[in-house]
């Protein structure tokens, strides 16, 4: 049915009955949603009943690579994991890379939908069109590395690829992630969704080659992409050697690397302690995802102290969440904490922000001393950070239990003024950009359907002065509604749906990625996609995801920012004085909703908008027949 890119097969697995079925991927779905996150949003919108408990058997886990995945399109081994998020209550999507995404395509599927709940700990093994339900009792409780070792041994096959959860997912931490190899679908607590289903792992093995409709045309489109990658002054000369954490220096110099739970951003440079030069001292190697010529993952080894010998792969985000925002200023300690999160299956970002939150509450007397459990909760204490990660992941009574469901829930339990210092949007902890110095980036945090998410709508124009589609003033709110829509839709249509690594958009080819995606999708699948189609797909997916949230009761009031971002201007640094006041946010939101065709009062897409995007089901759900 498809000439290439897709197999035309979706695997539906029911854990309750231990059954599976192979369903046809309708051509219309491919045309409208392209793949990856697009398919995940489409199926979850269609199949999830509004109001369900995210940790009940009624929730479903959607696992979708893109049509590019498993081919030789550079940096295309990406996969979207999605479900209703226990952390946010909204639609939760997290993408991962590595080798698991490509292997799922080699196994002959365009995606998996996991339903129900297994009676006992289980892993599923998918090989060349068949599914086995295997006992995971022995692996239950294991770390993510050990789980992968045990499963390979259990199957007698060292070449399987595994996406699994650690103890945090089993304990239903709302910050639990899914780990494949050593990469993470980190955010929104999707690991807890697997845990709630007694699903320890999804294992895949395949030998089939993804078909290509027009190899010549694909070669040509690929070479355009390769040229753009080579022409980038950043991708190979710097990023490939230094990885994402190269921007610790950049964001610190911009006065936008959040420090001490966002209370001290810009007050002191951090490069000397945790910048690139210091990172290089501990560097021992790097890693690539499948089909990636860049290889941005940096491996660091902790050389001293109680955690000496631990190999970590901390990204920029971890240098913030487990570094600058908790005050930890030692690269080795940040790296070790990052590894511990990965091993226990906890999102490094939310986990670190929770630690910083607890530290600030302790400092302010909002977390009473008797609740410190003997820990020194001063900013900068790496041992406390390490211990809190463990307690949160294992949901230990006391602080572990208090923090393991994120800052929003913890603040609610603590009461008083704790909420003012809970750095989240819709329950999702903030990423590593103090948005008081970048207005569109802030508006994106407020409006992204997943909560504060730098993987949706990254404002490269503000953070890296990339003048595509045009240069902007990072501190001005003017036109930021339209820019945020642009950033969200381009990322969704290209990287999240096709799928391509997001760094190809943000670093290598912001000006050509849409045309290139359209050309490669056409060559691969035999279905004609124009650049307009790719834009439209991005817009459609973001609208449908928003409709999902509206159906769950989300409205304009959830499109907001933490109190601190709206009321405490940055004290120092290059972005000094920056703040996104409620008035500024309101002005940006009005513009954003207007350009999106969304209702300014409810924030919901209007009926006309939904119909124009060919989403009649969503129009019916929100507005009746």
């Amino acid at each position: 049915m498809f000439a290439g890119g897709y197999w035309g097969k979706i695997l539906r697995v029911n854990l309750t009955n231990k059954t599976y079925a192979v369903e046809e991927l309708p051509r219309e779905t491919a045309n409208q949603f392209l793949g990856g996150m697009g398919f995940a949003v489409h199926y979850l919108y269609k199949e999830l009943t509004p109001g369900i408990d995210p940790l009940s058997p009624e929730n479903k886990l959607a696992v979708f690579p893109g049509p590019f995945t498993g081919t030789n399109v550079p940096c295309s081994s990406r996969i979207a994991f999605a479900a209703k998020s226990p952390l946010t209550g909204a639609l939760g999507v997290a993408l991962s890379g590595g080798y698991f995404p490509a292997e799922l395509k080699f196994a002959g599927f365009d995606g998996i939908i996991v339903e129900g709940k297994a009676e006992k700990p289980t892993y599923i093994f998918i090989q060349d069109g068949k599914v086995l339900f295997r006992n995971a009792q022995r692996m239950w409780g294991s770390t993510t590395s050990d789980c992968q070792v045990m499963i390979k041994h259990d199957l007698g096959d060292q070449n399987v690829r595994i996406a699994c959860i650690g103890p945090a997912g089993e304990k239903l931490s709302h910050m639990a992630c899914i780990i494949n190899e050593r990469r993470a679908a980190g955010r929104k607590g999707l690991g807890a969704v697997m845990g709630s289903k007694n699903l320890k792992a999804i294992v895949v093995r395949g030998n089939q080659q993804v078909p290509i409709s027009n190899a010549e045309a694909l070669k040509e489109a690929r070479s355009t992409m390769a040229k753009a990658m080579k022409a980038s002054p950043v991708l190979y000369p710097q990023f490939s050697k230094l990885g994402t954490a190269m921007v610790v220096d950049h964001l610190s110099a911009m006065g936008m690397l959040p420090m001490n739970n966002w209370s001290e951003t810009g007050t002191a440079p951090v490069e000397e302690n945790i910048g690139v030069a210091k990172q290089e001292e501990l560097k021992v190697g790097k890693e690539h995802c499948h089909s990636c010529p860049v290889g941005c993952t940096q491996q660091l080894i902790t050389r001293k102290g109680p955690r000496a010998g631990i190999l970590g792969e901390p990204e920029y985000e971890s240098f913030y969440s487990l570094g600058s925002t908790t005050g930890v200023s030692d690269v080795g300690e940040i790296s070790a904490s990052d590894r511990l999160c990965d091993e226990l299956g906890l999102d490094t970002m939310s986990a670190g922000v929770c630690v910083g939150f607890a530290m600030e509450l302790a400092q302010k007397g909002l977390l009473p001393k008797e609740q410190h459990e003997g820990l020194d909760l001063s900013f900068g204490n790496a041992t406390t950070q390490y211990e809190l990660i463990r307690r949160m992941a294992l949901r230990e009574p006391g602080l572990g239990e208090l923090l393991t469901n994120g800052t929003r829930q913890a603040a609610k339990k603590l009461g008083g003024e704790a909420w003012k210092y809970a750095m989240h949007v819709k329950g999702l902890e903030l990423p590593a950009y103090d948005v008081r110095g970048a207005m569109a980036h802030g508006l994106n945090y407020a409006t992204s359907f997943t909560g504060a998410d730098h993987n949706r709508g990254y404002a490269i124009q503000e953070i890296f002065s990339v003048p595509v589609p045009y240069p902007v003033d990072k501190d001005s709110i003017e036109g930021k509604g339209a820019l945020t829509k642009w950033n969200q839709d381009i990322g969704t249509g290209t990287c999240d749906c096709a799928t391509i690594c997001a760094f190809m958009l943000t670093i290598a080819m912001p000006d050509t990625i849409v045309e290139c995606t359209a050309a490669m999708a056409t060559a691969l699948t035999g279905v004609t996609f124009t650049a307009d189609d790719v834009w439209r797909i991005g817009e459609r997916v973001n609208n449908l995801a928003k409709a999902f949230n509206c159906r769950e009761g989300f409205s304009r009031k959830e499109d907001t920012l933490p109190w601190r971002v709206m009321h405490e201007p940055l004290k120092a640094g290059l972005s000094k004085g920056g703040v996104i006041s409620p008035e500024k946010l309101d002005t940006m939101l009005d513009e954003y909703y207007t350009v999106r065709g969304w209702d300014k009062t409810t924030s919901a897409p209007t009926k006309e908008t939904l119909l124009a995007l060919n989403l009649p089901e969503a129009a019916r759900d929100l507005y009746g027949a």
Binding site: V234, H250, A253, C296, E317, I463, F464, V466, V472, D475
Partner: protein
């Protein structure tokens, strides 16, 4: 005096963080060329392509305003202006 601050990799490769230049009426490009002379090593080569255009991702702020919204390298400077120069970066 115009103050020029070099950031991140540029700061490391030039071995200089801040310079001060006395050039009323000069443009950003002039001032950077003068830094180049004083340092005895290329500065603009880190920031421009063969045609002399700013590389994508270079961020030069004059008193906090991005020169892409002013006159680029041709932006005229006044005494006491503060220029901050970031080479291209990405990731995160």
């Amino acid at each position: 005096m115009v103050t020029i601050t070099f950031q991140t990799t540029l700061r490391r490769s030039l071995g200089v963080h801040t310079m001060q230049v006395e050039r009323p009426g000069a443009t950003v490009g002039d001032v950077l060329a003068q830094c180049e002379e004083a340092l005895g090593q290329p500065v603009l080569a880190h920031l421009t392509n063969a045609q002399g255009e700013l590389l994508r991702g270079v961020m030069i702020l004059v008193n906090g305003k991005n020169v892409l919204l002013l006159q680029g390298l041709g932006t005229a400077l006044k005494a006491e202006d503060e220029v901050v120069v970031f080479p291209p970066a990405g990731g995160g």
